[in-house]
Amino acid sequence: MNDITAAAAPEAARKRHGSLLVQDARTKTRNASETRFRRLGLLAVALGMLALVGLLGSILSNGLSAFKQTYLQVEVFLDPAKLDKTGSGDLAQIAKVSTFGYAPLIQAAMQGAAKEAGVDTSALPAKALGQMVSKEAPATLRNFVLASPEKIGQTVSFSLLANGRIDGYFKGRVTMESAALDRNISPEQLAFADQLKAAGVLETKFNWAFFTAPDASDTRPEAAGLGVAILGSIYMMLIVLCLSLPLGVAASIYLEEFAPKNRFTDLIEVNISNLAAVPSIVFGILGLAIFINLVGLPQSAPIVGGLVLTLMTLPTIIIATRAALKSVPPSIRDAALGVGASKMQSIFHHVLPLAMPGILTGAIIGLAQALGETAPLLLIGMVAFVREYPAGPPEGLFDPAAALPVQVYNWTQRGDPAFVERASGAIIVLLVFLIVMNTAAILLRRKFERRW
């Protein structure tokens, strides 16, 4: 026995004097610091949750109402004196009547609806009645008449959008007090809307148009929808998927399995990691310079957006794929080579299928990132007012389109307060898309992942 243990022994012996159930001072401090750390961790989680709840709460409380919309069920008399002055039934003549010519019909229809519902509208001028219907309504009527001109002279039942302010009243955004101060709506109109609702003329329905209708101008927030934006986002994601997955996987297989390890490949590796961290706006500048100015691709088109986002997603996919390939144990490769497979056979028949869950997860996360990206699209003209649906692919890839995050950005800049609701609604749609994609990534990983 040497001196050290001899010296330590009495120390230890002294410690054991007390009961094991009574903590001494040092144990107490150690336990206290652990408790402190746990509480801090809990606090961090709680703060994070609080921020999330606040964010979701504000988005949901503002945006859920976007999924409901107020419609008016009215009988419109398609007056031949207004729509077909010559009486010839000639479509070219009927088409000459612009949407402005349809406004009196709607005004008359509103008066008719009021009479039928037994509401006294003498307090309201006829023009105020017409204003309660969306400015989108004349276009709805005109499209109907042009599609079936034989209906002129008949009375047809229409479901027309109510004005955004009326819609806001039933969603709690507009009140009698605010209407008194608002030059776009009067309390009398709101009171009349209440009576129409009681009479069943006015009803609130699920807003399918929010998913299918194109964007609308500032004067008709009630008609604005996400149709073009969703289509544009889908097109871009298709391009990103078709380009970045094969390119990224091919690049990673070469780098991981075939490329010699030297300075040059090290340099490439560092550059790929760097590119993954480059701000996305840089890719937008690159896209503008190369794809639009040099190659001459059209502005505002999903093809350019998709190419730019492909560049942005590539590093993410390459890094994820390389990590997935690395995690496949070398014994698999050795066994394949051992039974006489070529290097390529060993990779494509054995390594790649085992790495697939990791690659797919990386690709989906990269796609989700690209789906929410706005900044690079700013520079290639996709932050725009687009009302025409792009055609089906592949020609449609060259037509102008919007994208979901861009639509959110656009709507937050509009003057009419009704667009706040639309923007929050669009955020909810975007979040649902992201949640679905991320869930798919998790499920794929759970289902196919193998642990070694």
Binding site: S98, T99, F100, K135, P138, A139, R142, V174, S178, A179, L181, D182, R183, N184, A216, S217, D218, T219, R220, I239, C242, L243, L245, P246, L247, V249, A250, I292, N293, V295, G296, L297, P298, Q299, S300, I303, L378, G381, V383, A384, F385, V386, R387, E388, P394, E395, L397, F398, D399, P400, T412, Q413, R414, G415, D416, P417
Partner: protein
């Protein structure tokens, strides 16, 4: 094997890119965010009433829009630039160097700039001199320039409420700021006598004196807003004594939250701006690349539709949204019909 397929389809995609990038059948517009809502209203109505597709309208600012217009002639460049300020000689030079020689200047109407505060606060009746005295970095007191020490509006003008000065003015990248500087700050500078003091200090150099007038105080009483009017509105909402600078149409859409101040005793409205009584307004334009008129289908029709009486006239949807219609609209209609390019700037 599916990788090979996707790779092939990717190559096919690129091949398609080079072939079908040729014909564009929609009008492309970019530029001022002030003109954007009006252009969107017209584009929407145009798409509804004509067989041509709805034009695509981008925002991004007047200067950026004009620069894009001047990038050259060809289908991957824009056709029309919206602008809330007049085109500059530098833009015209850039255009000329890129082969864009004929540009048509179309004035669509006038836009009023209003000063508004929270609806629950006191009412304000301003003059340009009040604004300069409240916000300028230096004001003249008995002919002597000194740093601005006013903290409440009542100190500036005893007729105003005793509220702390807090103004949200458009940032320098906005076209609105130019008008604000010119028609309010410099005009006020001349009214309250500071201009003369600056003239004396700068040895009679008018440009330097105007520049000195436009120096706003940096002690947090005047805040530049680089975002949109929605941001200004949010700031006024959070600071009840704040006064924001808005476009007339934006104010008209938010009359339940904002109350408008008079300027020089005049309430801003479409009427008072069209008669010229209300002093703070500016013309809005769009610039047309004439070389594209026969190439892009519907472009001529769109321009003519934009300046037609039923759209840009005093009873049209643009006026209803807050645009002050141009009394010389008939002249503009003639010019557009004859495709008269703009004369050189003098």
């Amino acid at each position: 094997m599916s990788y090979a397929k996707t790779a092939v389809s990717a190559v096919a995609l690129f091949a398609a890119a080079t072939t079908s990038a040729a014909a564009r059948d929609n009008v492309q517009i970019a530029g001022s965010s002030t003109v954007l809502p009006y252009a969107a209203i017209v584009a929407e109505a145009f798409g509804e009433n004509f067989d041509f597709p709805t034009p695509v309208v981008e925002s991004g600012g007047s200067g950026a829009g004009r620069k894009k217009l001047c990038e050259g002639v060809g289908e991957n460049t824009i056709d029309i630039a919206n602008s809330s300020s007049k085109i500059k000689q530098s833009d015209i030079d850039l255009c000329a160097s890129n082969g864009v020689t004929e540009i048509m200047e179309v004035r669509i109407g006038y836009d009023g700039i209003v000063f508004a505060s929270d609806i629950s606060g006191p009412a304000y009746a301003f003059t340009p001199a009040d604004w300069h005295s409240a916000l300028a970095a230096e004001v003249a007191k008995d002919g002597v320039l000194s740093a601005n020490t006013n903290t409440t509006w009542a100190e500036v003008n005893s007729a105003l409420p005793a509220e702390d000065i807090l103004a949200f003015v458009p940032g320098t990248k906005h076209g609105t700021r130019e008008v604000f500087d010119d028609k309010v700050i410099v005009a006020g500078c001349e009214e309250n006598g500071t201009f003369d003091a600056h003239m004396a200090a700068n040895g009679g150099d008018k440009k330097a004196a105007e520049k000195a007038c436009m120096q706003l105080r940096t002690d947090g009483k005047s805040i530049d807003i680089d975002g949109d009017y929605t941001e200004t509105l949010a700031r006024v909402d959070a600071n009840k004594n704040g006064i924001g600078v808005f476009g007339l149409s934006f104010y008209q859409n938010n009359t339940d939250k904002l109350q408008v101040a008079t300027m020089g005793g005049v309430v801003p409205s479409v009427d008072s701006i069209s008669t010229g009584e209300y002093p703070v307004s500016r013309p809005l334009y769009f610039y047309v690349k004439n070389a594209h008129l026969d190439v892009i289908p519907g472009m001529q029709a769109y321009i003519e539709f934009f300046v037609s009486d039923e759209i840009a006239g005093p009873d049209g949807p643009l006026a209803a949204y807050g645009l002050v219609s141009d009394p010389e609209l008939a002249k503009t209609q003639d010019m557009v019909a004859n495709r008269v390019p703009m004369a050189p700037l003098n």
